[in-house]
Amino acid sequence: MKYLKETAIIFGITMAGEFLNYLLPFPVPAGVYGLFILLTLLSVGIIKVEEVSSVGDFLLDTMPLMFIPAGVGLLDSTGEAGEILVPLVVITAVSTVFVMVLTGEVAQRIIRGAQKKEAEHE
């Protein structure tokens, strides 16, 4: 029963997300709407985290699996890129590295700066 109930809640919120995606004119996917719906329901206390966490943690745990079909399909679609393939791959790779390092550095500096300040106050 527990799993059944959790699954029903999660699918229900997913559908609500699809509904918003259909109704509202923004390019926001159903999953992201659903994320905020669930977060709101959890914060307000309408849903307790124990009421979604077994199935939820299972879905999060198996999430990498869900990307395998798309990853395997990449090989099938390299043809579509044609002559643009090389610049596309190079730009994608370089900018991914750049964005990851930049975001991480900025966050780490701010966090450590704040920690230092706190330490000085104490």
Binding site: I68, S95, R112
Partner: protein, 230 residues
């Protein structure tokens, strides 16, 4: 034998799950960062299909059901986020500033390289949404006049690459704060990066989940501002 494979819906799922399990086992065994379970699984499935001469369509007939769980899984990213909400509230500025820097950095780096490669406008706008989650990225690309299928390819390549190289990048650049790691993964490599962040820990997972949404929405605003530059 072949008939069973051709008609089975579970074949594609079994191959995917089996390949991923092997990837997890291999990673535990060798502790090598390059043997990322997702990468190992994708390569194994590709090898398997080509050795046994099975079409991608044949495989995907069953495997596609795995991807259908992506939407409810994205919804469930709210769970780690909720568990870390207090922590998040204390660091609002770090979250906002780093994601904004990442989104701006993405646009600038793509602009510079598109200039270097002398790309046409259509390819430039195709690449602009490459760091954000597929569903948002497709909309942004379409809106800006890009080629949506190419955008999807670059989004998936970005995610898988980000998932694979994160450990290594964090080591080289000494990014040690769990929160910084999570924000970096979610901003640079959307949901596929977040899958990696969840493996690293709950704070990483929560921050990465949040970054998917915030970076995605910020990109929706930023792309129309810079799409006319080339």
């Amino acid at each position: 034998m072949n008939d069973v494979i051709h008609s089975s819906l579970y074949f594609g799922m079994l191959v995917s799950v089996g390949a991923y399990l092997f990837g997890v086992w291999l990673k535990k065994r060798t502790k090598l960062a390059i043997l990322n379970p997702l990468l190992v699984a994708i390569v194994l499935v590709i090898l398997f299909l080509s050795v046994f001469r099975i079409d991608y369509q044949e495989y995907n007939k069953g495997a596609v059901y795995l991807s259908y769980f992506l939407t409810p899984a994205t919804v469930c990213l709210a769970i780690p986020l909720y568990r870390q909400l207090e922590y998040l509230k204390r660091h609002t500025f770090a979250v906002a500033a780093s994601i904004a820097a990442g989104v701006a950095g993405s646009a600038v780096s793509i602009f510079i390289m598109a200039k270097l490669f002398q790309l046409e406008h259509v390819y430039y706008v195709t690449l602009l949404p490459k760091s954000i989650t597929t569903a948002i990225g497709m909309g942004v690309s379409e809106e800006a006049g890009g080629i949506v299928t190419l955008t999807v390819i670059s989004i998936i390549v970005t995610g898988i690459l980000g998932n694979i190289i994160a450990d290594w990048l964090f080591q080289i650049f000494k990014i040690e704060e769990p929160m910084a790691k999570g924000l970096a993964l979610g901003t640079a490599a959307h949901a596929i990066g977040t899958a990696k962040a969840l493996e690293l820990g709950e704070i990483e997972g929560a921050m990465s989940s949040l970054a998917i949404a915030v970076a995605g929405l910020l990109t929706v605003v930023v792309v129309p501002l810079v799409s006319g530059l080339i």
